[in-house]
């Protein structure tokens, strides 16, 4: 999977600071991020509730989960099929803290993330000895074990019927975040803070160590990187992100959730997000999440409005799956490194426009 070397000559890195025409960037170095931030902050007043509740919030949470897995798989090179399980840990742990302590939501979320990190750390231990496919199988075991645990032990869901949990109160230091806009800002704040942290992390010594391990762990050990410790750290950090994403999915998006919300299909969904968006790219997670969560909606919308009533609904849905599958394949053939790479290339081209290179 990780095939490009962690070299400063990597064209993506060279392209990264470019973006817009050079003079423009020089004059307004923060124009683009500022614009994006303003758009996201103003979203609730510009868009309807449907867009906030059903489109933006799940998109942001899935992006965050994508970042979590990307740190582990894209940066540290460790494969995992247990993302759903770690999300469940975050959700159930946050619920436990909300229920049994007086913590306000952000603190409970943080504590839930830390619990998920500890669990990730434990399930990361096998990575000291095994890699690749074998590691994937142990993470699969983690997924099944965690699902089973939350289903089997009613204590985790406070003996709620059907093992389902729902947030008792979404109070952020006294402010009620129960409204749609409140939940959205809560998610936005978490995702923004954690994305910023991730970008800093991957540029730090830790991030470089991870890349070195991903490219060749023997060589990394030779140059003095503590490979085992770094791998396990990657599992812990990744699980922290996934745990926070799981808790947000349960409490800020669905409102309540059971183990079935964090099944194996969720793990696969997150793997698709990082594969399509681009491994070892933070922005790629957002592109991937958008592709995975928004494209089916767009296809559904188009088919619903264009063909409603004229064609069989089941046929339409199957056609959508077909189109979605073809798009993924076509797209990965055209750009195996994901949307992030595509966007970077487009950017370099546009900055040199009208010249081709």
């Amino acid at each position: 999977m990780p095939n490009q070397p962690a070299s400063p000559l990597d064209p993506r890195w060279a392209a990264a600071p470019a973006g817009a025409p050079i003079q423009f960037v020089a004059a307004f170095p923060h124009a683009r991020p500022a614009f994006a931030a303003a758009a996201l902050v103003l979203a609730p007043s510009l868009l309807g509730e449907y867009w906030i509740n059903a489109v933006l919030v799940p998109f942001l949470v899935l992006s965050l989960a994508g970042i979590g897995l990307n740190l582990l798989t894209g940066y540290a090179g460790q494969t995992s099929l247990g993302s759903g399980g770690f999300m469940a840990v975050g959700a159930f742990a946050t619920y436990g803290f909300l229920l049994r302590t007086e913590l306000s939501f952000p603190l409970a979320l943080l504590a839930g993330g830390i619990v998920a990190a500890l669990v990730g750390l434990v399930f990361g231990l096998p990575s000291a000895k095994i890699k690749g496919f074998y590691l994937m199988v142990t993470s699969l075991a983690a997924q099944f074990f965690l699902e089973w645990l939350f289903l089997k032990v009613p204590w985790f869901s406070n003996s709620g019927s059907s093992g389902t949990i729902s947030a008792p109160h979404l109070n952020v230091f006294g402010w009620d975040a129960g409204t749609p806009a409140g939940k959205y800002y809560l998610v936005l704040a978490c995702v923004a803070a954690l994305t910023w942290t991730a970008t800093q992390l991957v540029r730090s010594q830790t991030g470089r160590d991870w890349l070195a391990i991903r490219d060749m762990d023997t060589a990394a050990a030779v140059i003095g990187i503590r490979v085992t410790a770094q791998k396990i750290l990657a599992f812990a950090v990744s699980s922290f992100y996934l745990g926070v994403a799981g808790a947000l999915w349960a409490f800020a998006y669905l409102g309540s959730a059971g183990v079935q919300s964090f099944g194996l299909s969720r793990s696969f969904q997150i793997i698709f997000i990082i594969t399509i968006g681009g491994l070892s790219s933070i922005s790629g997670c957002f592109f991937g999440a958008a592709f995975i969560s928004l494209l089916p909606l767009l296809l559904d919308f188009v088919s619903q409005t264009l063909f409603a009533g004229t064609l069989d609904a089941g046929l339409l849905q199957n056609a959508q799956k077909f189109i979605f599958g073809v798009l993924i394949i076509a797209f990965l053939i055209k750009e195996p490194e994901g949307i992030a790479r595509l966007v970077a290339r487009l950017r370099t081209r546009l900055s040199a426009w009208p010249l081709r290179f």
Binding site: A54, S161, G163, H169, V302, Q304, L306, A308, G314, Q317
Partner: protein, 440 residues
């Protein structure tokens, strides 16, 4: 670049055309979004189920001229029974369409009912999930917008026990009997456990619970345990592929099929036909009996099936259990809207009015006769306090080719189970700091 620009333009044109084409709703219609699942793992049941619902809506629209003159404008959204997608559809449709409001939302999925319960309460839209949903939402004082109509999970347990008592010759004969429950190891499978435990304590039978892990296509260890227990009766609370496997494995271990009692979701044609001869004599709880001999089927056959207006792709499935579920659920909705019209006038209702309508829904024998659902649907009466209303089922038995109804409606002992439900809803209210609503 150029090719992709062209593609983008084409897509944009298609989209704008689509937006133009969507206007076609007349005011004065009741908008009913349907989160269908004709694709995916549950397609075999979903296709029939939604066909039943749609056929009944078509019948009401075309033959009866709508509900008191208000036509139903239903719209399908494929969800594959995926909770995320159902939530998305709910968000997309909750404000109605082109001025026609939403009076209720069918979830037809216990996980989706859970996921939407708070949103729907905030948006004031009733969630309708007959014979499913969150058991404690039967308590309408805490859950004003959730309606697990007809037959909640506790009632399923109780009706099963009452049927066994009937066969054994009285509730006092249950003492010392062994009743095994083989259940799908999921929230759905575990949901009846508190009720069975309570009844076991009350009547003194031995309660043995044996889980089957999903998907359950190998059950020898479980049925060996059943065999060792030498049970008098076995509840089969499986789901999907695990039901036919359970029936066949039971036969292999020498447990007669007529000692097995399937629950609501283990009692359709899809559950017994794959089990072949082993299923002969298998019984199941039927809040929605199978068969095409009811009065409503005669009317539908004449007006919908024979005129080619049915949503069924294969008319052979007319009268199958899943099709009948769709019919009954649609009828419940139609009757509720009719109830609402009596108070608010003959016009489309919004969510709050929809709640009032469902909470005052009464369907008695005379009404069942009129709408042609006699024997197919139990008489029921919903109140603001009780969102289940029925709590009875018939027992049907598979004779090798079709379901035969063996009993009349067997009522669950709802008074006995109510404290369990109230304890759970009170815990929920406390967790959410809700003040239970006083009855109206």
């Amino acid at each position: 670049m150029r090719a992709s620009t062209r593609l983008l333009l084409t897509a944009a044109t298609a989209l704008s055309l689509a937006l133009g084409a969507s206007a076609g709703f007349a005011a004065g219609e009741q908008y009913v979004p349907l989160p269908t699942y004709r694709v995916g793992p549950y397609a075999s049941s979903g296709t029939l189920w939604w066909a039943g619902t749609i056929d009944y809506f078509r019948y009401v629209n075309e033959v009866e001229g709508g509900i008191d003159g208000v036509k139903i404008r239903y719209e399908e959204f494929e969800t594959e029974w995926n909770t995320d997608r159902i939530v998305e559809v709910y968000e997309r449709t909750k404000h109605g369409k082109d001025g026609s409001p939403v009076a209720f939302f069918f979830t037809h999925s216990t996980p989706a009912s859970y996921a939407l319960i708070e949103k729907a309460a905030a948006d004031r839209i009733p969630l309708i999930d007959p014979a499913g949903g969150r058991t404690e939402s039967t308590d309408g004082t805490v859950f004003p917008y959730a309606f697990p109509l007809l037959f909640n999970y506790y009632s399923q347990a109780s009706t099963g026990i009452n049927y066994i008592a009937q066969r054994e010759g009285g509730l006092d004969k249950l003492k010392g009997k062994k009743i095994v429950t083989v259940y799908h190891d999921s929230p759905y499978g575990r949901e009846t456990q508190p009720a069975v435990a309570l009844l076991a304590q009350r009547y003194g039978f031995e309660n043995i619970q044996i889980p089957v892990a999903d998907p359950g296509n190998e059950q020898s260890p479980q049925w060996r345990r059943v065999r060792e227990a030498k049970p008098d009766w076995v509840f089969v609370r499986t789901w999907g592929v695990s039901t036919p496997v359970a029936i066949r494995t039971a036969q292999r271990f020498g447990i007669p099929a007529d000692r097995l009692i399937g629950d609501v979701w283990a009692g359709s044609e899809a559950d017994v036909i794959p089990a072949g001869a082993a299923a002969k004599g298998y019984q199941a709880l039927a809040p929605y009996p199978g068969g095409a001999d009811f009065e409503i089927h005669r009317r539908l056959k004449k007006n919908i099936i024979d005129t080619g207006k049915s949503d069924l792709r294969d008319v052979k499935n007319f009268g199958s259990v899943y099709y009948n579920i769709g019919l009954v659920n649609a009828a419940l909705a139609v009757e509720a809207l009719r109830t609402g019209h009596r108070k608010f006038g003959n016009r489309p209702l919004n969510g709050e009015e929809g709640r009032w309508a469902f909470e005052h829904l009464v369907i008695d024998d005379a009404r069942l006769q009129q709408i042609g659902f006699k024997s197919l649907l139990q008489p029921l009466s919903i109140t603001p306090k009780d969102h289940e209303g029925g709590g009875a089922a018939r027992i049907q038995q598979w004779d090798g080719s079709r379901w035969v109804l063996k009993t009349d409606w067997i009522q669950a002992d709802r008074n006995q189970l109510r404290p369990l439900i109230e304890a759970k809803s009170a815990a929920y209210a406390q967790e959410k700091s809700l003040a239970p609503r006083q009855g109206e």
